[in-house]
């Protein structure tokens, strides 16, 4: 039984705090998510904020629909997921695409950098192409210091320019799972 003894990469950064600030500045009021390790801190910040409604989903495509509803109701929202969830949202994106609904999607990547689980690789490698094929503007970021400014750009494109935008936060940044413990 092989075990992946991957080097534990440094994960401690303030990027979730900075990204949360960006979301607040963009007046995001609803945050929908399927729990993901990489998004833990950001999710917890959202849950702790009474001005933000945090909605745990059973599957990611529900979140595309929630954000569509949020916008129809006058509120901005953000959808947090792992790259594996991107595969689940492709058809539902058609609704937001066709109606020209602003969408802000923050994706933590798997199958991308130092991945030990082969089953994460297909969707990890397909994430960017699948999103682009579905009409989403994709910003990749692999540098901790650039995450917040990238989310800010994405938020502007989404809410000011009325587009579907996804920020892919690279696995190198999020941190590689340590299976040796």
């Amino acid at each position: 039984m092989a075990r992946a003894a991957t080097k534990k990469l440094k994960k401690k950064t303030d990027w979730p705090v900075d990204v949360f600030r960006v979301l607040k500045d963009a007046d995001v009021r609803q945050v929908a998510y399927v729990p993901d390790a990489g998004h833990t801190e950001l999710i917890n910040l959202c849950i702790a904020d009474n001005a933000v409604r945090s909605v745990p989903l059973t599957a990611e495509q529900e979140g595309v629909a929630v954000l569509t509803g949020a916008w129809l109701g006058g509120e901005a929202g953000a959808l947090l997921m792992q790259s594996s969830g991107v595969g689940n949202v492709i058809n539902m994106l058609g609704m937001a695409n066709e109606c020209r609904i602003p969408l802000l999607i923050l994706v933590t990547m798997r199958g991308d950098w130092g991945e030990f689980n082969p089953w994460q690789v297909p969707m990890g490698q397909a994430t960017e192409k699948a999103l682009v094929a579905a009409g989403v503007i994709v910003h990749r970021v692999d540098d901790t210091d650039r995450i917040a400014e990238t989310v800010e750009s994405a938020a502007r494109l989404a809410f000011d320019a009325g587009r579907m935008v996804a920020v892919l936060i690279g696995q190198r940044v999020v941190g590689v799972k340590d299976w040796t413990k």
Binding site: G73, G74, M92, C99
Partner: protein, 200 residues
């Protein structure tokens, strides 16, 4: 707990059912699931507070949820079909946990996929959507099979704190096709202005 059998004995006509429901809508917002449900709603008269969905199954309940959260003073009603709801069945668990008071989900259940040739859906073979909703955390549910029950449901749909989930069993017979506004860029903006105000 209500259980469903086949709708061989359904007596309600879907178009009349939906028109009756909408008669009491007041300023409630309505989200329609794709297919027959959109036609039923549009045939009662177009309304800025109608958001008609097309083509993509499984999203109607969650779209309505997002609206309900954004506009807590607004009553939001989903009118959809059994097939469409089944395609997004996990939504019931998500909504059952969140318990938005101003959301009502109405499933017009003809036990068939109307837009693709009336193939049986799973409700024709014993799947009980009311039971699933109750198990998901909906405290207010109903299986409606006659006009008396439909009348009795109006308060639940529009007035009492929700979330509310009801299945209305209807005959296969549909109403005539009407023109349903399908430019989503237009209906979405119209809806948002009507529900969230000019400055949204």
């Amino acid at each position: 707990m209500a259980t469903s059998k086949t709708n061989n004995f359904a007596t309600l006509q879907r178009r009349s059912v939906v028109h009756r429901i909408l008669k009491d809508r007041g300023d409630a917002a309505v989200v329609t699931g794709i297919g027959n449900a959109s036609h039923d709603v549009a045939s009662a008269g177009d309304d800025d507070r109608n958001m008609y969905l097309f083509g993509i199954m499984g999203g109607a309940a969650m779209v309505a949820f997002g609206i309900a959260v954004a506009q807590p003073e607004c009553r939001v009603v989903v009118i959809t079909g059994d097939g469409e709801l089944l395609a997004g069945i996990g939504s019931l668990a998500t909504i059952g946990v969140e318990k938005p008071k101003n959301l009502s989900i109405l499933v017009i259940d003809n036990q068939a996929y109307g837009a693709t040739g009336n193939q049986h859906t799973h409700t024709a073979r014993g799947v009980d959507l009311v039971g699933i909703a109750a198990a998901s955390g909906f405290d207010h549910t109903a299986l409606i099979t006659d006009n008396k029950a439909l009348e009795a449901a109006m308060d639940d749909i529009y007035k009492k704190p929700g979330p509310y989930f009801a299945v209305v069993k209807v005959m296969t017979k549909t109403g005539s096709r009407v023109t349903v506004p399908n430019d989503g860029t237009r209906t979405s903006r119209r809806f948002r202005k009507a529900v969230a105000g000019e400055d949204a």
